[in-house]
Subunit: 362 residues, 4 copies
């Protein structure tokens, strides 16, 4: 287990789904960054379960409590620890999951790796709940980026086969990103929201779940962020993103589509854009050789459907080695993609700040 | 610049395209790993330019010279340094690239980042030539993996729109992988080779280039490799892969396709496969929660078309801020995908060994 | 600020003297290590202020609360977070310390480094209180070491000019170390305790403080711990020890005395000690080339006198640049050396576990 | 084995005493640092064997050959690799050292750790020769420091019982340091040189060796270098210094002497020194809480006598477990302290640059 994301600004994630609390410990932050509780809460809300379409924000409950590193509303430069208590944990019996592991969860490999002492209750440290600290750290890092004129925002690019309009890679609207960065169901083409919701509802009614894609854009980046070869922008961001268990693919710019292009088509020609150096296309997603080009950074992520579905599934009893059936208890999101947007944004914010510090740019 | 890939077994890449030499420094290797020159050469050959279809292997020339860390054919446990001298460097004038940067190369962002002292000759440290050390390190790591019964092999999944048959994710043929791991133009469906070559030749005749995809499979993995959340298998492998500048996308298992699935379809059901725990499908590509499941690891990579094309391109003179045209001199591969297979395999080998050492599995 | 000690088993220290809480986040622990609250408490007591000679242990109050990583009395392999709440913080005004920094405290350089947002209350993150997390982590690591037959214990080697008998470097009594590892005023020659206490009391009566030395021995070490050159035993232990602000010197074996020896005197001759390979002397303190030799590890530390003394001191008002006088408020230990023994032991335990994990020895 | 010193500017040391070459790979250097061969050679000369009092400098031979990272006399920001070929290696038989390990060398623990494939020839990677790359890296880092007005120099503080005058910790003469930083037998009190040389000659005539101490001063440091707790100045410097196998003790400022002081004596009172903030004493050696104070940094190191002595020694045959005698062949320095000054300085230069980069100060 190695839950420390980053090198110079690090996020250490701790806690288990049904333990005392979960939390974030951020080390290496500069002093003097404003820590605005409303801004943090706005981000936490986007990821929180059951908040979307909810009239009653339960503000007090899940707000991270800051333990250290902040004084009078600003970071002090010391490690910033924040905790979210686990109010609702019930002492259900989860031990059956060690015998009949849930398909596509970490139950089985983690039980083999950590042995009899593995805390499997509510998925333990592997629970999706453990992405909340990433959102929290992202909210702090957003303030660092904002001071530099950098904005990070994303949208639901697809749910199942319903696809939203992608970003215009060469001309990302800054107001749009800001709006998306506060949205709980962010789409560019507002007509798609209803179709996506229908698809999610349909999955829910079937006791099933559904996957999707998230697309993030970052604007205002200077040229020169990234420490290639090993700590290039794509390496550092992808590493942070794949620490989210539901992520199964990461691509930059044209991504996998670039594999079908010819060079003459893929190459991003330099142009004079009102006195600034820009490119006519942005198939490289704002990164060349691991270094930002000044064009918008575009990253896309594939999110798998929640493996926790309520319909009965077949699995193996790994003790008896016989087929068994499994019904996963509790309420589970039929689609985590809308909530995951803030997690993906948070990971991108964290990775960028880490690299900017490494490069002496903070 | 941070060219050290890995944590416990590290590969430091050094050198520039037109400098004295390029090289690999591998730290943290166990003692007693056989270092077989033929095996290393077989891998280096796969990446070497102009080797495919060539009757005269220039064996002596590009063979890495081992400087340290090996004695009597075995690693000693000390840092292993190997160098490849740059025989053919000509003192051409590359300074024009700082004024008229090549589209989709690192010329422009690297010049901004490193300033007037940036070594741009032949792309310097950003040259594709700098992937040779990854192949070398991969060849050493293959021996470590082989001792544990683990095999890594890949194929050209596509060139442009010509697609090879993908791996059967639940039943990867071990003989096939071994064969592919030595091939210089590896495909599963041998009929596709000719079509791919035609497409490449057609791009070449047009003074253009073309992209493609590479798919890698790893067999023989034990359950339990990976140190989540931050050092899960996907994080560590993707980070290594994106340190190759041409890579623009990385996905595991079903990858982006999983975003269109329902949970009931995507979930990999556990089964008893002749007394062993396996899964009926392998949409997660052998990794759950960042930990190997014992199923084949499947990773796919998007490789962009070589930005160096011989046909004239438009670019910007960044000094005068006026449009300019550029003709890139020298001979360049119309498609780097076949040669890149060994690089991608090498990065995967290195990442796995690094994680196995971290987990106490070596 | 970079408060993460270690590489593969890491201790992240967080909190400020007058903040909500202080704490330890330990990442990379193996699963299945017993977490015995009594053992932890026994260690915490040794460092706690006002405990020595105290009839009423305030057990409940300062016991670290474990937040994550432990289930049913064993580590789970997940990050282990523990917190100690700051019950007694009073909102005294400490801002004067930024103008008239206390001599030999971090007040001045930290104020320059972190600027106006530096949390100077009670020394903030630089307070000696922040060594409690090291003791806690040490208590957990002791259990790992105990499983391997390794014991770590230390004593007050000197207070001022009163010197205790040093360890017999070639024949450290195991029972003695165990006893010392639980002692709150550990000395080998019990006659020295009274003299040391007198010296401390005399300093206290003068409103002054006094320094001392600590000597640690580790027994039961296998041959082969340490990852030279950069991660040798001495590098890793000294780095951890110097993270304690009061430590100004670290030496191994004969330490600085070896500088006066000839080779023929200093060299530790190998002998057959009842069938085991040993050395006749142990001037190298159990480490050669950064690797343990199997002999007892002997490390000595110089601890400076507490800079917080109650007698009036001269200092500079750094705003007005004029001389000023300073009276430090509050109660301060006239000698921190007895309490620091557990901190030094804890740092050694942590460093050894980190290296053993790195070497695949856990 | 982990031979990578540092975090953001790293020195990877490679090579074995009797292999092809030894070398340094420095990653993370800024671009634009002048690489002056004369300056590098001046430093290499100080460490080189047989140079002191030698009329014929063998300049060409041991000059490191720069392989990468430098163009037209300046660093490019890419990894800088340099090699020193091992011209004089003779294929003597060293295998007897595995059976009868040399006292106080790494022979025995390294043979246990790395097994039969350990390269013991001429001590392999554990040879004192492997400190040359530290001197080389130090020479590069000196240029970085010089640009910031920082100077690093040291002297032989003692050989056996002959002691040189220590630095005046509050008023280090800058010209003196510069002179020392180029000296091959640096002392402050020139009368001591002859006495020291006599002592060394006397040891040599006895077939013995002798130890000593080195004291380093750094001037021109700004306030605020250091990333406590874990990456404070003392942690990072001591870690680098202890990677030199002969170093057995490291202390800052008053070091172990501070353990005998009272607080009122040890505390470094702030004063107005001609309009600058300074301290009246410098018992803390220019570091408080792991952060530089702007006062001279003072660090002292204990160097053990060379374990390689020509007089016959007793040891154990570890195969037969019987006593044996050993005569170490070859010529060995009776005292490595004069040559080690440049190594210690180099390690300090490297550690400071690493920390300055981490703190955004480069």
């Amino acid at each position: 287990m190695s839950s420390i994301i980053g090198k110079n600004i690090t996020l250490s994630v701790f806690g288990e789904s049904h333990g005392e609390a979960i939390g974030a410990l951020i080390d290496g932050l500069p002093a003097g960054i404003p820590v605005n509780k409303d801004n943090i809460y706005a981000q936490m809300e986007r990821r929180a379960p059951g908040r979307d379409k909810s009239a009653t924000p339960r503000k007090e409950k899940d707000m991270p409590k800051i333990i250290s590193g902040v004084l009078d509303g600003f970071t002090t430069g010391m490690p910033l620890c924040a905790m979210i208590e686990n109010g609702d944990t019930r002492s259900a019996d989860y031990s059956y999951l060690k015998d009949t592991p849930r398909p596509s969860h970490a139950d089985y490999p983690a039980s083999v790796k950590y042995g009899e002492h593995f805390d499997i209750r509510g998925s333990g440290h592997f629970s999706g709940r453990l992405t909340a600290p990433i959102v929290f750290a992202g909210a702090i890092c957003r303030e660092i980026l904002a001071k530099k004129g950098i904005t990070v925002g994303g949208h639901i690019l697809s749910i199942g086969n319903v696809e939203d309009t992608p970003f215009d890679k060469t001309d990302v609207n800054n107001d749009l990103i800001k709006e998306l960065s506060l949205s709980s169901f962010g789409v560019i083409d507002s007509d798609k929201e209803a179709q996506m919701r229908d698809l999610i509802e349909s999955a829910r009614l079937d006791g099933d779940s559904i996957g999707g894609q998230i697309e993030i854009a970052v604007t205002g980046l200077p040229v020169g962020i990234g420490e290639p070869m090993a700590r290039g922008v794509e390496s550092v961001i992808s590493s942070a993103l794949f620490s989210v268990p539901a992520v199964k693919g990461v691509e930059f710019g044209a991504g996998f589509d670039i594999a079908r292009m010819r060079g003459s088509e893929a190459n991003d020609r330099y142009i004079n854009a009102n006195g600034k150096i820009a490119t006519a296309t942005n198939n490289n997603g704002g990164v060349l050789g691991g270094i930002t080009t000044g064009m918008p950074l575009i990253v896309k992520v594939a999110v798998k459907p929640t493996p926790s579905i309520s319909k009965e599934q077949k699995t193996l009893n790994v003790k008896t080695m016989t087929e068994d059936s499994l019904v996963i208890k509790g309420r589970h999101d039929p689609c985590i993609v809308p909530r995951a947007v803030s997690v993906v944004e948070g990971a991108v914010c964290l990775a960028l700040c880490d690299l900017m510090k490494e490069g002496g740019l903070l």
